[in-house]
């Protein structure tokens, strides 16, 4: 039964695809920038590889934008893509608060964080052929909440902290991260955390192309579920469609 409302609101869909472009450009130019100095430090300063807490690999050309080392072009596009990313994040937060997406689907309560809730949502995930979980389950709420509430904002804030021209406007921000090199390290780590999410997200979406289509067309939101009928025996297939 459809409510007539799309499953994904227009604001969500527009943000999703602009943000997808921005994240791909930011990540791949970021790997190019990382190649310029492949060592990460904690604190205010750091330039000696002997002081590094991590020696990063050299990212191959196919993984970077542009496809080969070019710090100037990589930086040009990194700081341009940062705008739709940062402003988009502000936009989607406002939209989610206004249209109720946040309160309906992403807000977690204490009961969502219990092992029982997590196990239940993982179990519910395996076996539900047509995605009955239209309201997000605790694992989805926690994961999306972490991405929207922690990882994406961290990228913006650590990115700003690395800029020496921005620093005089908010020197406390750099201090908050424990110095510029710490902010740079957190920027790198958070980028990879987002990459991890991206892999799971794409992997699950590719299992059922309709999920991707819905992020373009909007799809249809199901009405609140009527009393559940007897579950039908499910065909024995592995890896069922669901997006996280």
């Amino acid at each position: 039964m459809s409510t007539g409302k799309p499953k994904h609101s227009l604001s969500t869909r527009i943000w999703h695809w602009i943000n997808a472009w921005a994240i791909i450009v930011l990540f791949m130019t970021g790997l190019n920038i990382s190649n310029a100095h492949k060592y990460l430090y904690w604190g205010d300063y750091g330039f000696n590889p002997a002081d590094a807490w991590l020696a990063v690999i050299k990212f191959p050309g196919w993984a970077t934008i542009p496809q080969g080392y070019n710090l100037a072009v990589a930086r040009d596009w990194h700081v341009i893509a940062a705008w739709p990313f940062g402003v988009g994040l502000l936009f989607i937060w406002i939209a989610m608060l206004v249209n109720g997406h946040f309160f309906r689907d992403l807000r977690t309560g204490l009961r969502d964080w219990t092992p029982g809730a997590v196990i239940a949502s993982l179990k519910a995930h395996s076996g539900d052929a047509d995605g009955a979980a239209h309201s997000y389950n605790p694992v989805q709420r926690i994961l999306y909440g972490m991405v929207f509430g922690v990882l994406l904002p961290l990228m913006v804030l650590t990115g700003l902290s690395i800029s020496p021209g921005f620093e005089p406007a908010a020197p406390w921000l750099v201090d908050l991260f424990g110095g510029r090199q710490s902010a740079r390290s957190v920027h790198f780590l958070t980028a990879w955390a987002i990459f991890g999410f991206f892999v799971i997200h794409i992997g699950l979406a590719l299992i059922d192309w309709r999920l991707i289509a819905e992020m373009i067309t909007g799809g249809k939101r199901e009405a609140a579920a009527p009393p559940a009928p007897e579950p039908e025996p499910l065909p024995p297939i592995e890896g069922t469609p669901e997006h996280v």
Binding site: I65, Q67, L71, A72, V73, R75, F166, P168
Partner: protein, 253 residues
């Protein structure tokens, strides 16, 4: 098994779209529209930084205890020139810094002259475009004092820094606008951590422009030139790395 075909197809498609985007960035960068976008963004970042903080807002200064144990030398680490080597050995007795260009009173200053001016001491962080940072204490007169003494003409829009070092067969140079030229932390440093600047860090004189990246901090300084435009200097991009590698002229990010 029939599922595998379309799945792989979609994956390849996604990979293709990503690759298209990746290749497109370089292509777009080379196009006029791409170049316009990059330059607009650069100008906007300069404006945004100066609006968020004030034009004279200071870069953070550290305590002496926060200094890095050493200070990395990068880019040119010496000057391949007989006069320079002879001056290094002798302590730069005959080194001159000229202040020239669009000024009413051109100056030629010795190291002793520069040390006799009012000095600013600042322990600041140096951020290289590559990503690393070092912290050191710099001493020297403010650029604003020299510009006032030389009486910069109204037509001057930029201050150009001429250097003794060459890299890839080109002479190093840099430039900044008048906002940064008159910023209180913009100094002509002659000392690092209380000692004359080491050769690798730009002896005997190096610029400090604390709200921008390392490549703006011109080393082995020979002259300060007030100009209306830097279009005719080098390849016209305002600095060595701007010409050679396409780095942004405003290095606040």
């Amino acid at each position: 098994m029939s599922e595998i075909g379309p799945k792989l197809g979609r994956r390849s498609l996604l990979a293709g779209i990503a690759a298209l985007g990746a290749g497109a960035c370089t292509k777009i960068s080379e196009s006029d529209a791409g170049q316009d976008l990059i330059e607009t963004a650069e100008a906007w970042h300069r404006t945004a930084h100066r609006s968020l903080a004030s034009r004279q807002a200071l870069a953070p200064e550290y305590s002496v205890a926060d200094r890095s144990p050493t200070f990395k030398g990068n880019g040119s680490v010496s000057v391949d020139d007989g006069f320079y080597q002879q001056q290094v050995a002798a302590g730069f007795p005959d080194w001159k810094l000229e202040v020239r260009g669009l000024v009413e009173k051109p100056l030629s200053l010795s190291m002793a002259d520069l040390r006799a001016l009012p000095q600013r001491v600042q322990t600041t962080r140096h951020d290289c475009v590559e990503g690393w940072s070092a912290i050191g204490e710099w001493t020297g007169p403010q650029l604003s004092g020299l510009l006032d003494a030389a009486k910069v003409k109204k037509e001057a829009n930029f201050i150009l820094f001429r250097c003794a070092d060459t890299l890839y067969g080109r002479v190093y140079y840099e430039s900044i606008d008048m906002v940064d030229a008159y910023h209180p932390q913009t100094i002509i440093a002659h000392a690092l951590n209380g000692e004359p600047i080491p050769q690798k860090n730009g002896a005997p004189l190096r610029m400090r422009i604390e709200r921008q990246l390392g490549y703006k901090q011109a080393k082995y300084l020979t002259a300060i030139e007030a100009v209306a435009s830097f279009d005719q200097v080098g390849d016209g991009n305002g600095g060595f790395w701007e010409d050679v590698a396409g780095y942004q002229w405003y290095a606040g990010i």
